[in-house]
Amino acid sequence: MTDLTLDPNMTAPDDAYAALIAAHDGLTREESEALNARLILILMNHVGDPRVILQAIETAKR
């Protein structure tokens, strides 16, 4: 079983970050919140492992 990784894991972090911000361009606050929620759910499913998801939630709360 793998643990949540908090070490750098993205090949191009600046690009990924820019893509995230760009996705919100022109959206209202509500639309942005909805987009974020969908994104979280999609990534959660991609991760799959409930242990890793719980670790991520705990880390986010810190």
Partner: protein, 538 residues
């Protein structure tokens, strides 16, 4: 003073008659008295009486109240009803269904199939109006009584006060002929969600109220919608924040609309207004009659403990869930199933009184599972915070094109019987490779046998049974019946009871739950498991 019923009846089943207790000149003592003749009270009484334990039911009406309430009854409930003598009548009248579809606006976002599995006497679910369910059960009481079972239902006997002591309870009862008292060794409180017994003992009933109102309308129409459960989130026809359509017998359809928190009940119950909502849903040309309407709010809560000395709580009196998942009456029937054999064993001196504590452990475990499931469904249908609402909507949005989100759509997770994992009555699993679904604590799944009979018919007790599959039974304690079955030509039995194993022995409780299972077992192990399952040994 004239008698006042609290609600009108659907079926008058047990008219008031004056009982000899009222003229005895002294307080008569009973063995087991059950307050409340709802589905749980009657099932408990019938179970006890069929085991030879005298059971007296006191109900403050003369039959079943109007209005359907429960409509979905699960396989396990029908299996219990079968043992009590009324399962077949329920199935024959009921509407069998398998498919549920969930829509968001106009689009189908999720569907489920209860996947009928072969080799069960009863289907996964039927829809049947609660008054019919109760009526069939009372008819089974009448048949049992005619055959000498010690059971009595006293209509228009309202419990108005009680005094509990260490060895019994004295009840004050009101009747159309005036009050009387009786004493009972054991009191089973099946007096529903508003249980006055609970209040009289000063016991808490804590949990969550969902801030939402649901309009329930049963309509009579001859429509050719399929016999599927249809549920809408934010339906295009805008009759409610969510809506449900589900078929019942006699051309009655259950319709539900979610109305929100701030409503005026009286206005919303105006038939013209209800019709307007229904017309939006069904279209202007569909003809129907309103059969019954009501507005509900829902709670999920339970008592801290279900047993308080000689007073034992069961059904809605002990725990309450929202109806999404049909876990109310279905779990109440499992309470009755769990309690009946235990109380009978204690009263016959076959088991110590502490066996009853396992009713608490096992049924609280079950109640927590039911509350967890129905709370989650209700949170999805009625999100309680803005963030919860955002995620709910995100799931619905994604479900249209992303398959992973579909199983997250939660319009109710339907009742399945609890497996009593960790129960003090279980013996540790000793069947390597055995199927998880029949591990100790699990309810036995049915299977069809070579002679056309069903497995569960042979596990009706009244006591424990040893089920032997391809193994050699040890020397048996006196009175333990053995059921030896051939598995070579029965893939159902193998899949459900052997799995990877070649042979197995199952010790099965009177309520058809697995107490222990082994690949091989000697007399000592069997005796220890049997003691343990009767609360006799640690």
């Amino acid at each position: 003073m004239t008698w006042q019923d609290r609600y009108p009846l659907s079926f008058r089943l047990y008219p008031y008659t004056r009982s000899p207790d009222q003229d005895a000149g002294q307080t008569v003592r009973h063995s087991v008295t059950i307050v409340g003749g709802g589905p749980v009270g009657v099932a408990t009484a019938l179970d006890l009486a069929l085991r030879g334990i005298p059971a007296l039911v006191l109900d403050d009406h003369e039959g079943v109240g109007q209005g359907s309430r429960a409509i979905c009854f699960a396989k396990r409930t029908l299996e219990i009803a079968h043992r009590l003598g009324c399962g077949a009548a329920m199935r024959d009248k009921g509407v069998i269904w398998n498919r549920g579809r969930v829509f968001h606006d106009r689009d189908e976002v999720y569907s489920f199939d209860l996947l009928p599995e072969d080799g069960h006497r009863y289907p996964a679910f039927i829809n049947l109006q609660q008054p019919w369910f109760e009526r069939f059960m009372v008819e089974a009481v009448d048949r049992a009584k005619a055959q000498g079972a010690p059971i009595e239902i006293r209509g228009r006997n309202r419990v108005t006060g009680m005094e509990a002591t260490a060895d019994g309870v004295t009840l004050a009862i009101d009747t159309p002929d005036g009050p009387y008292t009786l004493t009972t060794d054991w009191l089973i409180a099946c007096d529903g969600a508003k249980s006055a017994t609970r209040d009289r003992l000063g016991l808490d009933f804590d949990g969550r109220v969902f801030e939402d109102n649901f309009l329930i309308a049963d309509v009579k129409m001859s429509a050719d919608f399929p016999t599927e459960r249809w549920f809408w989130f934010e339906p295009w026809f805008k009759s409610g924040a969510s809506a449900l359509l589900h078929k019942q017998p006699d051309d009655i359809w259950r319709i539900d609309f979610q109305l929100g928190w701030d409503i005026d009940r009286k206005t919303e119950l105006d038939p013209a207004r209800i019709r307007k909502r229904i017309d939006l849903m069904l279209g202007p040309d569909v003809e129907y009659d309103l059969d019954w309407t009501s507005i509900y709010t829902f709670q999920c809560r339970r008592m801290d403990r279900f047993r308080h000395g000689r007073v034992i709580f069961a059904g809605d009196a002990a725990h309450q869930v929202s109806p999404f998942g049909a876990r109310g009456a279905n779990s109440g029937l499992q309470d009755a199933d769990n309690l009946g054999w235990k109380l009978a064993a204690v009263l016959k001196g076959d088991a110590p009184e502490t066996l009853l504590d396992s009713y608490d452990t096992e049924r609280i475990h079950a109640a927590d599972e039911n509350i967890r499931n129905s709370t989650r469904s209700t949170d999805f249908i009625t999100p309680k915070t803005p963030q919860s609402r955002i995620f709910r909507d995100a799931v619905l949005h994604l479900a249209r094109h992303a398959p992973f989100a579909r199983p997250m759509v939660n319009s109710g997770r339907l009742s399945v019987p609890a497996t009593y994992d960790g129960s003090p009555l279980n013996t540790q699993d000793a069947l390597p490779g055995g199927p998880a679904r029949t591990r100790p604590g699990a309810p036995c799944p049915d299977a069809r046998l070579a002679d056309g009979s069903y497995l569960l018919d042979h596990l009706k007790g009244p006591g424990f049974t040893l089920l032997v599959l391809g193994a050699t039974p040890p020397r048996l304690p006196t009175g333990l019946p053995v059921l030896t079955l051939e598995t070579a030509a029965n893939p159902q039995l193998r899949a459900r009871y052997l799995g990877e194993a070649e042979r197995a022995l199952y010790l099965i409780r009177p309520d058809q739950h697995v107490a222990a299972r082994w690949a091989a077992c000697d007399a000592g192990k069997l005796a220890r498991a049997l003691d343990r399952a009767q609360g006799k040994a640690p």
